[in-house]
């Protein structure tokens, strides 16, 4: 078994962003008239892509 490196914890961030529905199931604060429920989740897509990057870079460097 390879040793676990904490950089992999980044991959849990997106799941945490969506796990607790009552946190984002709300209208305020809205952004450009878009309720929080919607813009939070669109923002979450960017978070997801960004959270993969450090793991990718780590794996590249280890080669």
């Amino acid at each position: 078994m390879k040793k676990f490196h904490p950089v992999y914890l980044f991959l849990l961030i997106p799941y945490a962003a969506w796990a607790w529905v009552p946190f984002y199931n709300r209208v305020e604060p809205s952004l450009f008239g878009i309720p929080f429920f919607y813009w939070w989740q669109i923002f979450g897509i960017f978070v997801t892509a960004a959270s993969i990057l450090p793991v990718y870079l780590y794996q590249e460097r280890r080669k």
Binding site: W18, N25, Q41, I42, I45, I52
Partner: protein, 512 residues
């Protein structure tokens, strides 16, 4: 002929030609299955990005997701966490599948299962699950075509023996699809994907700029949504509520997505595991587009297209699936609506082509070669796959023409649940090897339980409320069935441990 129809037809003819001549692009020996059915495993990061984007975000998604928002509100937005949270899984697990498939020449998920477990029954179960799940999905792509054809007003029908009245444009697009799939295989499809995705991005960009301006801003758009539907329903006491259903829908769908045969075909056609890892970071661009496409459902509500007499017939024939086409006709200039419809129509043909190729690969490799003609030559193998791909498309066409669309939708709902039951034998098997007999039993329990839950709900919904310790848990049936599946697989593996196991042809280093 209106500008809408002219632009639409011009783009369709263009992609048909691109598709037909795609076989010359990086030409390979198309009499070999991996050349025809995986594009020779040659696609780099950019082409794979287009190909997978076109493959995973289909026309049906573009029609059905906003239709769901249009009808049900916030609950339909689960497509967004689904389309985002699948990428860490893609990044971690699927390069392993690519590596092991490359090492051993696997072209389907069932090939991998056959090699990993040496159990023909389990491999057959995985292959059949894939075939049964992907067929109604293909049929729904043709439904997407039908909606677009109706929106364009191309009601040119002929009466045929046996089939009855059929739409000529639908038959023509079917012929185009069949022709380029047969001659070019995955290469033609990949080239079409580039055109399709560019059209989709242009349409989405225009839609999120032009339509909100016309309607007076996003505030006005959300004001048109019924107050109860802007958010998920509040959680009642003694229940985990709509929020739990929302999350399980996203999780169940994302686990299933990459196990669909057409996804596996798309992933394995890439030229290296590196390509898949990079794509996990750039594919979310499509998810952003999808989120705005979902919001088109609200824009359709705000624009009031449902009450307009000129769209009444469309809504009558296709229900809420007509919301987005009606919105485009209402909000865009004629020629641009034609471009948007071409994006949807090509977005139907292109994934349908990959799905057909995936059916060809699956049937030939895991049923024909495994059980019927073990000594067939590579040429026979490739020929067989092409024929099966054609038959699959014919089946999908027949499905759409002769059976009610409702059946295709219900079967697709079930298909997602069934595919999810292949998680322990395919996705999990990339890391741990349970006993194949236990996996087969778990698969049977999962498929049976999932089907039963959806049948209990009258095939109308896939969120089955479980009652545990006085608490109501509304959970996507694929997820609760998968939990049962995993429990059975794991417990039986413990029971069967020590009894003779067949050889695993893969080694730990094959996955790295």
């Amino acid at each position: 002929m209106s500008a809408t129809v002219i632009v639409f037809l011009a783009l369709i003819v263009l992609v048909t030609f691109i598709g037909l001549f795609g076989s010359r692009w990086r030409a390979g020996d198309l009499s070999q299955l991996a050349e025809w059915g995986l594009g020779g495993r040659s696609f780099g990061t950019l082409i794979t990005w287009f190909l997978l984007g076109g493959d995973l975000y289909t026309a049906y998604t573009f029609i059905a997701v906003p239709a769901l928002m249009f009808g049900a509100g916030a609950a339909g937005f689960f497509a967004v966490p689904y389309a985002a949270l699948m990428y860490p899984v893609l990044f971690m697990a699927f390069p392993r599948l690519w590596s092991v498939a490359h090492k051993h020449g696997y072209i389907t998920a069932a090939d991998f299962v056959r090699g990993r477990f040496g159990h023909r029954g389990l491999a057959l179960a995985i292959a059949v699950t894939g075939l049964v799940a992907v067929l109604p999905y293909m049929a729904l792509q043709l439904v997407g075509m039908q909606v677009v054809i109706a929106a364009l007003g191309l009601d040119w029908n002929v009466a045929l023996p046996v089939l009855g009245t059929v739409s000529v444009p639908l038959i023509l697009s079917f012929i185009a699809l069949a022709a380029f799939t047969y001659t070019s295989g995955l290469r033609g499809t990949a080239l079409i994907a580039v055109v399709k995705d560019l059209l989709v991005y242009i349409t989405v960009l225009a839609a999120i700029i032009i339509i909100p301006t016309e309607l007076g801003g996003y505030g006005k758009i959300f004001a048109a949504v019924p107050a109860k539907q802007v958010l998920l329903a509040p959680t009642p006491a003694g229940s985990l509520g709509a929020g739990f259903a929302y999350v399980t829908l996203a999780v169940g769908s994302l686990l299933a997505l990459f196990l669909y045969p057409h996804s596996v075909t798309g992933l394995l056609s890439s030229s290296s595991r590196q390509v898949i890892r990079r794509n996990a970071m750039v594919l979310p661009a499509y998810s952003v587009a999808l989120a705005f496409i979902a919001l088109l459902g609200y824009m359709a509500l705000a624009s009031g297209v449902k009450g307009m007499p000129q769209y009444a017939q469309g809504f009558k024939s296709f229900g809420n699936n007509f919301a987005v086409p009606a919105l485009f006709l209402h909000a865009f200039p004629g020629w641009f609506a034609g471009l948007a419809f071409a994006a949807i129509a090509i977005g139907a043909l292109m994934p349908a082509s990959i799905m057909a190729i995936a059916c060809g690969n699956l049937f030939t490799r895991n049923i024909f070669k495994e059980f019927i003609a073990p000594d067939c030559t590579p040429e026979t193998e490739a020929k067989m796959a092409k024929l099966v791909a054609f038959a699959a498309k014919l089946g999908a066409l027949f499905f759409v023409l002769e059976l009610q669309t409702t059946y295709a939708i219900q079967l697709q709902l079930l298909g997602g649940i069934w595919i999810c039951q292949t998680v322990p034998a395919v996705l999990l098997a990339l890391y741990v090897r349970l006993d194949p007999r236990a996996l087969l039993a778990g698969w049977a329990v999962g498929v049976g339980l999932g089907t039963w839950m959806v049948a209990e709900l009258g095939f109308k919904s896939s969120t089955y409320p479980l009652h545990i310790l006085g608490e109501t848990i509304p959970c996507y049936a694929a997820v609760s069935a998968l939990v049962a599946n995993l429990l059975v697989s794991w417990l039986l593996t413990l029971v069967l441990r020590g009894s003779a196991m067949v050889r695993d042809e893969t080694a730990a280093e094959d996955y790295a």
